[in-house]
């Protein structure tokens, strides 16, 4: 981690905000950058821990992924699916167009 010591700058913050589709007002960008840097510096202490022979922890449960039978047990609930939609039309969700 040490050769990627995170000095997150505003440009990176912009990039991350874009990836996360978050609109961050200009006025809060500097503050946010500082806060993020503090947090990232805090978590950087994991550098101290020797983990070269350690496997990442996949799950704490200890059981295997359960498998489901191939049956149609769901669906046919268009009304419920669309019930909370901010905009819908003729059974479709409606969104502003993507620029493709």
């Amino acid at each position: 981690m040490s050769n990627k010591k995170s000095i997150v700058d505003i440009a990176t913050v912009n990039k991350i905000a874009r990836l996360a589709r978050l609109n961050i007002p200009e006025s809060s960008k500097e503050n946010l950058t500082n806060e993020l840097n503090n947090i990232l510096s805090f978590v950087a202490q994991l550098d101290e821990v020797e983990t070269s022979n350690i496997e990442p922890l996949a799950s704490v449960t200890g059981h295997k992924l359960p498998l489901r039978n191939d049956e149609v047990t769901d669906g046919n609930i268009e009304e419920l699916i669309l019930q909370n939609a901010p905009e819908k039309s003729s059974g479709f969700f409606v969104v502003p167009k993507v620029i493709e």
Binding site: L22, V60, P96
Partner: protein, 487 residues
Amino acid sequence: MSDLLKFDLLQASKAIKNKEFSSVELTNAYIEAIENTSSLGAYLEIVKDHALNMAKISDKNISDGVSRPLEGLPIGVKDMFCTKGIKTTASSKILDNFYPTYESTVTQNLWDDGAVMLGKLSCDEFAMGSSNETAAKGNVKNPWLLCKEVSPGGSSGGSAAAVASRSALAATGTDTGGSIRQPAAFCGITGLKPTYGRCSRWGIVAFSSSLDQAGPLTRTVGDAALMLNSMAGYDNKDSTSANLKMPNLMDYLDKGVKGKKIGIPKEYTQDGISDDIVKFYDTSISWLKDAGAEIIPVSLPHSKYALPVYYIIAPAEASSNLARYDGVRYGVRKEGKNLDDMYELTRGNGFGEEVKRRIMIGTYVLSSGYYDAYYLKAQKVRRLIKQDFDNVFEKVDFILTPSTPTTAFALGEKLDPLTMYLNDIFTVPASLAGLPGISLPVGLDKSGLPIGMQLIAKAFDEVGLISTAQVLEKSAGFNFIADGAAK
């Protein structure tokens, strides 16, 4: 009517079944209590008519002689649980218009067992926080030292405040890094986080999937056992749900600790813990010793890395879990000139500062070039932390620690995110290892605020956890009531 508030869950359950009073009477008492304590801001939604309907059904069941384990008992539900037809917001602006068409498995279990729903309880937004100061609709106040305006803890601050103020007989919460145990400690009540996988996560707004667990907040350990009996259970709609039957916890109450070994981790007594808490930690150790337990010093060497591990993994998972809040299929949409614009405005406007911070951290630590250094590294250290516990549990049956480094702080006192994160220092390790933990009140500090102690048990040993906690509870004899409680 307010007399009815004095009964805890187990007592009220017996009394209702004995027809000493009706569920409708009890429910009305709680509805009145909610109104009397409304300045706490614990409730986001009160469903009076719905509650009374459920209470009437319970009364009929009781008179017909067919009563269920929680028949007629009024409880509050943290607003992270989807409740069918009843607004569920995760305390966020972005879901301020969301009415689920489905019920979470855990709450359905409670209704199936006869419980009555009083309403939805405030929490930190998307369960991210340790002080209930990030709820969209405003802070929740701790009913202790009301004039001082102290935090009830978080993220289940509303749940803890409601139980402590006697405006709910019991409440559901969720615990990801301490969000049940820490507010329970701050509010002088009992809070239990079961083993990961014990309760189903289906229908609970997901924050950090490998850590989230539902659990009860109650007045007593016995109450928590009764609640957990109903809440727990295998759910085939949740792939992480444990296919193990939990024994009826009621059969294991008051079994004592004779011959049990209690581990005291040396890493948990360090700078930053308040003197009063240290004192009560020592006292708690001697209580357990007097009750016949063997006290064994142990070491959890990687404890200090638990917080950094948590603050990589939880935000990472959250950044992905919260991607679905995009204004397309539900939630409050902000119109934009195109799809991406709509996403950015909807999410930028709908999420609060702490949520945005964590999404940013999470997105960053998963991003190209940083995944190995942060996320993968954190998962490796997480394995070491779990191994520490596995090693210790070969020597002992339970681990005792303080629940929090300090008692409740004033609202607005901890504005710096990092300082806020340090609250979870004692609760996070058990979360990372997926182990069950309980916090119960053992005394008051000099200023009159409650102090909680935490017991951690082996995976799926909720039986032992309850039993041991009861011994501590009995020894401590904590019978104080918050000054802000309903009377």
